[in-house]
Symmetry: C2
């Protein structure tokens, strides 16, 4: 590695030194995102947006396979609608952007830029729903939402972000509950099989649930710094909104009923999760399934006869099946290019030079393990396919191991504080399910209950914090 290369790598602050700075360096230097002139609003550059497109593609397909259809509802919501569901307005009113003027005129009623669309969608559903025959309503929309945040970080917490929001209506509570869990499971499948991020799924505590929900379910991932990321939520809203918005239908017996209701969403926040679950001090490490570039081909001694031709041949051959980039830039050295593709998290780099061509081979470099191996040109496509598959699996395994190493069990508050102060991560503990314990922990340590996991373990009979009888085992962590 030459001098220039070292300098290049060192532009990223090591994560052990300053994790937030590492994050900021990575997203800026890898061109995922940029800051905009409006505070808290980000520009998603194409390298970041392509990751989002790959996530969208997977989810949209799964949503459609499970019977959902896409619609589009208005960006602006009248204040009176936002106020219809009492808990909801309390939760969202403090953080919305208000449109007060349209063209030259002041509006009679101010409109908020949607922070989420339950209210406008319920207003429409109340017009559309007539009979039990119309149910279920299974609709989703892809859009941006605005929540006026005081302190923001690209992808993780921004005043505008991209997301999808599903909104469904059902005849019975049980069906709504089934839908809520089905969508959470699709999110888990996406997180683990596509993003290679292992997640804990479970229910939110009463204090942490969505404003207006009957119950909120979540998937929680652990980042390199031991903080949790809420990576997706699915809400059983029961009849909270359908009653507030007077959504009714004639049931099978001819009686007027309120349907049951769910909503669920994931956002560009997931990209922050990918960065912090897989990244290292060289930069991004992208799971092949969502990497905008899966393979970067770097010709070595490209001025020598036959090298560029062979590189182009490999490119042409591989691009039938993979997202490939041929790095034919003339004014950069191979070493510089190696570092750039490593920093950008490209899963596989292929090096091809005169000596390789002589041996009818190419060198395959894996971003996840930093290992290099030779592959015969006769079976290059197979070798790449296999390596892509290996990397995808290995990233999930590595992330699982990291999480497991940072997952602890505590018997009391002192232990929780000690762990959070020295080696933060997920803490499992028995809990009485009372808000007072939860408040106390949060006030003193900033630690919150991430979820009450579906997969319960009986770690004792009493609450670790108040010694009342324990009702559940919960995951605690500091969170983004």
């Amino acid at each position: 590695m030459g001098k220039k290369d070292k300098q290049f790598v060192s532009e990223i602050t090591p994560m052990e030194v300053d994790f937030p700075q590492w994050y900021t360096d990575v997203i800026k230097k890898t061109d995922l995102v940029d800051y905009s002139p409006v505070k808290g609003f980000m520009v998603i550059k194409h390298y970041g947006y392509e990751i989002w497109e790959n996530i969208q593609q997977f989810l949209d397909k799964r949503f459609k396979e499970t019977g959902h259809k896409n619609c589009y509802f208005p960006l602006l919501i009248p204040e009176s609608l936002l106020k219809k569901e009492a808990e909801h307005v309390e939760g969202f009113a403090p953080e919305v952007a208000w449109v007060t003027h349209g063209g030259q005129e002041e509006l009679a009623e101010r409109l908020c830029v949607r922070p989420t669309s339950e209210t406008i969608i319920c207003e429409m559903y109340s017009k559309w729903l007539k009979s039990y025959r119309d149910l279920p309503f299974l609709f989703n929309q892809w859009c941006s939402v605005v929540r006026w945040e005081k302190s923001t970080r690209p992808f993780l917490r921004t005043s505008e972000f991209l997301w999808q929001e599903g909104h469904t209506l059902h005849e019975t509570y049980e069906e709504a509950q089934e839908e809520t869990i089905q969508m959470l499971n699709i999110y888990k499948e996406m997180a683990e099989d596509v993003l290679a991020i292992p997640v804990i799924i479970g229910r939110k505590s009463e204090k942490e649930k969505f404003a207006g929900a009957h119950a909120t379910y979540t998937m929680e991932a652990l980042m390199h710094d031991g903080k949790a990321l809420q990576a997706g939520t699915s809400h059983n809203l029961a009849q909270h909104f359908t009653k507030a918005f007077d959504i009714t239908y004639l049931d099978r017996a001819g009686e007027l009923k309120n349907p049951y209701h769910t909503s669920w969403g994931v956002s560009t926040r997931l990209i922050g999760g990918i960065i912090m679950a897989h990244g290292d001090n060289r930069g991004l490490v992208l799971p092949p399934k969502i990497a905008p570039i899966q393979v970067a081909i770097v010709p070595i001694a490209s001025h020598k006869a036959g090298v560029m031709e062979k590189a182009l041949e490999l490119f042409t051959q591989l691009k039938e099946e993979f997202r490939v980039e041929l790095d034919d830039r003339e004014n950069y050295s191979p070493g510089w290019k190696f570092n750039e593709w490593e920093m950008k998290g490209v899963p596989i780099r292929i090096e091809i030079g005169p000596k390789d061509i002589e041996k009818n081979q190419a060198m395959l470099f894996r971003r996840d393990t930093l290992e290099k191996e030779a592959a015969s040109l006769d079976t290059l496509k197979e070798a790449v396919t296999q390596m892509i598959d290996d990397i995808q699996k290995n990233l999930l395994l590595k992330a699982k191991n990291m999480r497991d190493e940072k997952t602890y069990y505590v018997k009391n508050f002192e232990e929780l504080k000690e762990i959070m102060g020295t080696r933060p991560g997920f803490v499992k503990a028995m809990w009485c399910e009372e808000g007072s314990c939860e408040d106390h922990i949060k006030e003193e340590t900033g630690v919150t209950i991430r979820c009450i996991p579906f997969e319960q373990e009986n770690l004792g009979d009493t609450c670790a914090f108040c010694e009342k009888p324990a009702k559940v085992m919960a995951y605690f962590a500091k969170a983004y």
Copy 2:
């Protein structure tokens, strides 16, 4: 056709009686769209949104094939940015929505909801561009925009609509011009090959061009009522914005230069065009390539043994290649279903009953010609493929014939007025290219110059309106 069926059809006002009412009836009764509680804002229901998804899919692929990448820029634009390009702010300021409060606080500077994103994108480009090596910039975004309209009609003119906006930078004027025309040609390809809508492409007059453009190019389609629809525009912005936003780069000679700039967009307005170019008094007629449902299977006497099984078999067989719906609803008669699928514009309806099964056939009904024919079940897939292809071609041909029948040539203003008063359509006329003629025509008749077509015809030497020497042949029409 039974009594109930007739009544069903007659719910759509005939277009000859009242074209605007026909349009409103069609969009409401076919569930493409609904009005929202915010005046001028529409809800795009799934049947409408799926058409948009099909348009998106085609365009996104073509954009990527021509080297463009998607990004996402902020929804809100500071007033100071909007004001940087003088003509632009004059054009857009009167019709933007203003955000004045974020959360509980009044903003120091108000923000407009993007009406189009040249300003915010140029602000970012000025940060990103350094060297000629970075050029061209070829970026696009899919999003919604808001323009505060006084009188609105779903799809055609709404205060919010969905669109894509491409924004590119180039080293030379010629490259920018080439890009501008390339994108217009992709739009034309989409309009004609996908939407089956023939378009005239050409340049806008100085008065009709985009606020801030050096030159605007457009594609113009003719609707059933003889009014034109501007269906997509592509702008050569030259250096108007790059100078105003101080976008510079070091050129090949090491000198600081402003790049050349283009932008181009199409919107959900296209769906209005599809409705008004192909629809008839039975409702929608959708081109197969963008129809959410290409084939609807209606079982006849479905209670009889074997019918539902056979219908399901056809469904399973066809859905491998087509977007198919099996209409197995029990509480509707076949006649009612026929009308519904006709109204919804489904290109092919397949009827299958006991007598058909006996003959190893199904009946294929074409929405475009209203003709029915028998097809052997042994070669059903081939028959459907062929018919889909025929319908797509026939719709374009029909629309071309309709347009040609409504295209006139006039030698003077009297002739133009006479035609517009009795049989509106496209009027070709020689023009001096002076704004005074254009203004006079518009004031007296509401007719505007739609474009100066690339395909020029020499129809005389003098302007049809002022008798000065003619410079160009232009298309005139009333427009949406």
